[in-house]
């Protein structure tokens, strides 16, 4: 006679009837050994529930409160920095896109440099947002952690490319274009990372 496995016995304790459970229940009705095993399982769970709750050995409220106050101060300061950087990015973009600035009106090199400065400021503002949110100190589920890890890996690889490009020949005519492309990509990834953390927070109700 094939007795029920522990997995099957555990399934029988779950609410609802899953496929295959009817046969297991039929077997259980006629099998004293499996009934005894299920009883023992129930008793073990009851004993687990009855274990004494471990009690904290010290009061941590003062530490928590002072860390919370310090964190609020830091967040407030970071918000101000992010605001200034966002403002700087807006001003830089306004300079690049100003109505009088036609294609032949300005030096293309200086236009690319302004655009690059604006994108860099945007990237910095997003990093400030992430720092302010401080994902490392927050609860995170495994799936979100995996997505965030992937984006962070892509960011590291992108940062290596940016560093390499910075070392390249300044006279390379394609250098500005490549730099712009890489920095735009970086802003996109940072944006996605902010989105992942904030979406996760609102999903988890945090």
């Amino acid at each position: 006679m094939n007795h029920l496995t522990l997995e099957q016995l555990l399934d029988l304790r779950e609410p609802g009837l899953e496929p295959g459970q009817a046969a297991a229940r039929e077997h259980l009705a006629d099998c004293p050994r499996c009934q005894a095993e299920l009883d023992r399982l129930g008793q073990r769970v009851a004993r687990l529930k009855a274990l004494p709750a471990p009690r904290p050995s010290r009061d941590q409220f003062r530490e928590i409160r002072s860390r919370h106050v310090a964190e609020r101060r830091r967040r407030s300061a970071a918000r101000s920095v992010a605001l200034v950087l966002a403002l700087a990015a807006t001003v830089a973009l306004a300079v690049v896109l100003r109505p009088g600035a036609g294609p032949g009106d300005a030096d293309p090199g200086s236009s690319a440099a302004s655009e690059l400065a604006a994108i860099r400021a945007q990237s910095q503002a997003l990093e400030e947002t992430l720092r302010e949110y401080n994902p490392d100190s927050r609860a995170i589920d495994g799936r979100t952690a995996a997505i965030a890890d992937r984006i962070e890996d892509q960011l590291s690889s992108l940062d290596r490319q940016i560093e390499l490009l910075d070392l390249m020949n300044l006279a390379d005519p394609m250098r500005d274009t490549r730099q712009l492309r890489l920095w735009r990509e970086r802003v996109g990834l940072l944006d996605a990372l902010v989105d992942v953390h904030l979406t996760r927070a609102s999903y988890a109700g945090l």
């Binding site: 555990l10 073990r44 709750a53 409220f61 945090l206």
Partner: protein, 178 residues
Amino acid sequence: MESVRLVQEEALVPLARGGDPAAQEALYRAFSGPVYGLARRICRTREDAEDVVQETFLEVFRSLGRFRGDGSLWGWVRSITASKALMRLRRNKYRDADELSDDVATPPREQPALRMDLEAALERLSDTARAVVWLHDVEGYTHDEIGQLMGKSVSFSKSQLARAHARLRRWLGEEVAT
């Protein structure tokens, strides 16, 4: 674990959300025991559990504005605690590699005096298995919820639970003679 009710919860939550120290302290006094209890059951050491208590309350104070009140406050605090404790396990995951082999220190069944008690057997499980047992059997989390918390599948949670019970059964000397 039985649910925890906070007296004057409706009045305290908005105050604590605004940073009121007395309201935050009331939340801490109400929940620090159960938070520590859950953290200690999941974490390997008292120090890790204390860190989880700090991280949990920091998150609670930081995120109270997002507590929608559609479930119990304790349920919300408990989910943050479980999540923080599991994060701590992930950070310390090398410890799972230290899990004792089943065959190394298992007391022989014919020596009932050497049988482990339940506390010792629970401690001896791997971190992941102990967390699954505690969250499922004691806290009442479903396999789906555990899978989500751990970033794993439902079947992962189920198989961890079955393996953990097989070990507990053996270590506690509860195996049925064949």
